[in-house]
């Protein structure tokens, strides 16, 4: 019984401590932040390895050069924007373009501040393994895809060819594209990037043909060379109406975003994150070490940092 009374008293005490005034929903830091007197930065990590590489390098430098403790939180893209606006995370380092969120949080509510280019340009497309494209060069044009549908068939796609899509959090128009381009394919969702990579590697091991949604920059290209299938060219605004879409995906310069409060008062950490900018080759080097050589993100970041001092020296606030 005593335990229950204590619990009740405890919750009452908490209510008094938190004050009976209004609670600020825009300042909701993680309970693990700034524990033990350390200055903490909370970074959002998305599930793909490129994003993990950004965070690993930023984390290492924040820790060893600037003396911060870094918390990583894995959240999907759209919820990450939400968390960023509430101050649960301080920064997103790799955003693939979310116009709706940008309008809401950056322009209307001003709770999020753009942090500039990451230096990497992202591109989504359809890919076939290069060993297959070499044997059948015409597969790289979408007009010939129907000819190969039977070779891309799996148990899951039934009588049609399989177009493998990944995580539900990724931007995709594939279902509409397949329909509008009149392709004899079924979009099969792997459900997570992990599952998709595992399946791609499995196919590659057996030299089997496959067609997949994939994106660049991505470390997996180093292991399983893939060739892009040409879709009708992208033109500004051709993807506005999902019902009628008939064109490829755009090339997106990836962006950084910071919580506004953090951007203004985050001191050296915020200045550093704004300066952070590297190339696709740099990112891939770290990503490959993490994902394929199974190095810990810390070790992979350390290895890159040791070899590229001039690059990151630039990022440190003077």
């Amino acid at each position: 019984m005593r335990r229950r009374t204590t619990a009740l008293a405890g919750s009452l005490l908490l209510l008094t401590v938190t004050g009976c005034g209004a609670a600020d929903m825009t300042k909701q830091a993680s309970p693990y932040a700034n524990a033990g007197g350390a200055k903490t930065v909370t970074l959002s990590v998305q599930s793909w390895v490129g994003a993990q590489a950004d965070v690993a390098v930023a984390e290492y430098l924040l820790k060893h050069e600037l003396g911060y403790r870094v918390d990583r939180v894995q959240i999907d893209e759209v919820p990450a924007w939400d968390a960023l606006s509430q101050g649960r995370v301080d920064a997103i380092l790799e955003d693939w373009g979310h116009p709706e969120q940008e309008q809401r949080y950056v322009k209307d509510k001003k709770t999020i501040t753009p942090g500039g280019d990451l230096g990497v340009t992202g591109h989504i497309g359809w890919f076939v393994p290069t060993y297959f494209a070499k044997k059948h060069p015409d597969v790289t044009d979408w007009k010939n895809l129907n000819k190969y549908a039977s070779q891309f068939r799996t148990a899951e796609s039934g009588g049609q060819g399989q177009l493998m899509d990944g995580s539900p959090s990724y931007v995709t128009n594939d279902k509409a594209l397949v329909q509008n381009l009149g392709l004899d394919y079924k979009v099969v969702f792997a459900g997570s990037e992990a599952a998709q990579i595992t399946q791609i590697e499995q196919f590659a091991k057996e030299n089997k043909p496959f067609l997949t949604y994939w994106y660049k920059p991505q470390w997996l290209f180093e292991k399983v060379p893939m060739t892009e299938v040409k879709l009708p060219a992208y033109k500004e605004g051709c993807d506005a109406d999902l019902e009628k879409i008939k064109c490829a995906y755009p090339h997106t310069p990836l962006q950084k975003y910071l919580n506004t409060d953090f951007a203004e008062n985050g001191g050296k950490a915020a200045a550093f994150l704004k300066n952070f900018k590297w190339s696709e080759a740099d990112q891939n080097e770290v990503a490959l070490d993490i994902a394929d050589r199974k190095m810990s993100p810390q070790d992979a970041a350390k290895k890159w940092i040791e070899g590229h001092e001039p690059t990151w020296r630039e990022w440190l606030p003077k």
């Binding site: 019984m1 229950r4 619990a7 919750s11 908490l14 209510l15 938190t18 209004a22 609670a23 600020d24 929903m25 825009t26 909701q28 830091a29 993680s30 309970p31 693990y32 524990a35 033990g36 599930s47 390895v49 993990q52 918390d71 939180v73 894995q74 959240i75 999907d76 893209e77 759209v78 919820p79 990450a80 939400d82 968390a83 509430q86 649960r88 799996t154 148990a155 899951e156 039934g158 493998m164 995580s167 539900p168 959090s169 099969v188 969702f189 459900g191 997570s192 990037e193 992990a194 599952a195 998709q196 990579i197 595992t198 399946q199 499995q202 091991k205 057996e206 993490i290 994902a291 199974k294």
Partner: protein, 662 residues
């Protein structure tokens, strides 16, 4: 894990025949009703899939609701004066616990945990506790373990308080009990996945949402067992206490609650187990700690790292389960043995407290608060090597039996596809009819009505086809689970040695977060529905094996003896005595298989299971309330329907608190 035990009374043949007669009667009634209603329905809406005329599109209202929440979250009083305080209180409590754990340092935490285990459950469990925490540190997971522990402490306390309040109300008032029961029923068949999204939308991703989702998931067993304990109190004792002239309040505190101590402790045990099983799922909405490490490792297809974070979760579960379990067993038994010990009662606790503080202080002054980095063992490398070997050698082209990928393809084409297509081709009203018939034969007209309404709700939501796809996966997985589970269960019931051998394996599979084995499953079976089914089977199998074993073991010895004396062979004995007598247990095992499989088939969407699970995952990932909620509610309906169709109503009170958590 304390699994639901089945202790059904022997069914007399007379009653059996009567029941069968009643079932026939029900079916005839149903057939008459169908004969009238079906032609009408057919004429109006035609057969085939669920008619469009009977669906409701919730996309725009749900979309508006979600926009409203996001736009008003920073300003509306509901948030700033109510929900915001809840969120802050959770953050502050979790932070407080976390800071205490950090201040104690690893030595202080280990010492404290070991001493508590020693006081509550004896020396052996204290040693187990030290070893388990040691392994968490050795795996390099000390800080995440502490984060998870802090979150668990707060979530479990909240769930226990909430559960006890509900349980007290239900235990003391018959009316509240009647009202609360369907609510608790529903809370228990809800797959946790389905309410992640609304919680995350209101509180934002992060610890508060994770804690609240965990509380919703973990409170029902506490409520049920509290109510059960209060209702089951020995009436003789209560009468004696009443005759002493006590008030109702005094009776509650001096007699009813103490008498219900065993149930309360079992409730605590179940609540802890369920809270821990949420640790990983909650990481999808930013729960941090060990769950987050598992989830992140999956992003890089790193089974080794996922395992390194999964093992501490298993160890925490094992320690907490054994300690609370032992505490329950020692209740009442401790009176004599303890009385002789010089460290009994309060003195023992003060010694424990003093030692803990002393150890923590020593560690602090020695500057050894953090787990030393040199004391870590890297298991990532070997585990991944082992996984790669498995994949290289088992995936395909194994002589005679074929590789795992071939099995998966065959399973998809020969089992999953026909079942799904068959279900989807059935006229919608016939599905409702089958559901009604099944639910009514084993239950009352109320259960049948609930089941039919749940199924109809799916149609109204406009996800009929997807739901039948999920249903097909569930049915296939349940079939495999039950066949394997009964076979292994029968074997373990006959051999104690096999049971002892299997016990730790079952423990691990029941507590290992499902996410950990999703990747090996993909590596072996490719992506698609087959691996989702495989993961579900792995998850549900232990509970089925356990309940089967227990049920068979508890069969009346006299009946066995009698059959043996009549010269029955052991096969005849099994078939004609044991299995029929253990029927209630076997039915419970079936029900458990259904509930557990449903929970995992949804997570199977992460490896290509598609259907409803995919909608929910999509909703969480894209912040799309409409898609996610409709998917979630449909899963709940499916769960309710399956639960009603597989759980005989008369047995409803048994195993009450221990469902889903088994």
């Amino acid at each position: 894990m304390a699994t639901a035990t089945a202790s059904g009374p022997m069914r007399l043949t007379g009653i059996g025949t009567l029941l069968r007669h009643r079932a026939v009667g029900k079916l005839v009634l149903l057939a008459v009703a169908a004969a009238v209603l079906v032609p009408i329905a057919n004429a109006r809406w035609a057969s085939g899939a669920w008619p469009d005329a009977l669906t409701v599109d919730l996309t725009s209202p749900l979309g508006r609701a979600s926009d409203w929440i996001i736009d008003n979250r920073d300003s509306h009083w509901l948030f700033t004066y109510f929900l915001g305080h809840i969120s802050n209180a959770i953050v502050i409590s979790v932070r407080a616990v976390y800071l205490v754990l950090l201040a104690g340092g690893w030595a202080g935490v280990v010492a404290g945990a070991a001493l508590v285990a020693w006081r509550v459950a004896g020396v052996r469990l204290a040693v187990l506790t030290v070893a388990s925490f040691g392994v968490c540190g050795l795996l390099g997971m000390w800080v995440p373990t502490m984060q998870t522990l802090a979150l668990m402490v707060v979530a479990v306390i909240a769930a226990v308080v909430l559960g006890m309040l509900m349980g007290l109300a239900a235990g003391l008032s018959d009316r509240i009990f009647r009202v609360l029961r369907p609510v608790l029923d529903t809370m228990q068949v809800l797959p946790a996945f389905s309410y992640l999204l609304p919680v995350a939308l209101i509180f934002g991703v992060g610890v508060p949402a994770a804690v609240l989702a965990t509380v919703v998931y973990a409170a029902p067993p506490m409520a049920r067992l509290t109510a059960l304990g209060l209702r089951g109190a020995d009436s003789g004792v209560l009468e004696a206490v009443t005759s002493l002239g006590t008030t109702a309040r005094q009776r509650l505190f001096s007699a009813r609650l103490p008498l219900a101590r065993k149930e309360l402790l079992l409730g605590l045990n179940q609540t802890i187990m369920m809270a821990l099983s949420m640790a990983v799922i909650a990481s999808m909405i930013g729960g941090a700690g060990l769950g987050d490490r598992v989830y992140q490792a999956l992003g890089t297809v790193d089974v080794g790292a996922a395992l390194a974070a999964g093992i501490p979760i298993v160890l925490l579960a094992v320690v907490l389960d054994r300690v609370t379990g032992a505490a329950g067993e020692r209740l009442g038994a401790d009176a004599q043995g303890e009385a002789l010990s010089p460290l009994r009662g309060r003195r023992g606790w003060s010694v424990a407290a003093v030692v803990t503080v002393a150890v923590a202080l020593v560690a602090r002054f020695a500057g050894r608060l953090e787990w030393p980095t040199s004391w870590t063992v890297d298991i990532v490398e070997p585990v991944n090597t082992a996984k790669d070997w498995m994949v290289d050698h088992l995936y395909t082209g194994v002589p005679v039996v074929g590789g795992t990928a071939d099995w998966a393809a065959h399973f998809t084409t020969w089992v999953l596809d026909p079942v799904r297509d068959g279900l989807q081709d059935l006229p919608w009203w016939s599905v409702l009819l089958v559901v009604a018939a099944l639910a009514w034969t084993i239950g009352t007209w109320q259960t049948a009505l609930t089941a039919v309404l749940a199924m109809a709700g799916i149609g109204v939501l406009g996800v009929w086809d997807k739901s039948l796809d999920t249903l097909a996966q569930v049915l296939a997985a349940v079939a495999v689970t039950v066949v394997l589970g009964f076979a292994i269960g029968i074997a373990t019931a006959r051999s104690t040695r096999l049971e002892r051998l299997l016990r730790p394996v079952l423990d691990v599979f029941q507590t290992m977060p499902q996410f950990v084995y999703l990747i090996p499953v993909v590596a072996l079976f490719g992506i698609g529905r087959a691996p989702a089914v495989a993961a579900a089977v792995i998850y549900a199998l232990p509970a089925v094996i356990r309940i089967t074993t227990q049920g068979l073991r508890q069969v009346d010895g006299a009946a066995m003896e009698a059959s043996r004396s009549l010269g029955a062979t052991s096969w005849q004995q099994l078939r004609q005595v044991q299995l029929p007598l253990a029927r209630p247990a076997l039915l419970l095992a079936l029900n458990q298989a259904v509930v557990l499989v449903l929970a995992v088939v949804v997570i199977g969407a992460l490896v290509g299971g598609g259907a409803l699970g995919y909608d929910v995952v999509f909703g969480i990932a894209q912040g799309d309330l409409a898609t996610g909620m409709v998917g979630g509610v449909a899963i709940v309906c499916l769960g309710l329907m399956l639960d009603r169709v597989t759980q005989p109503t008369t047995r409803r009170d048994h195993g009450a608190g221990t469902k889903k958590g088994a």
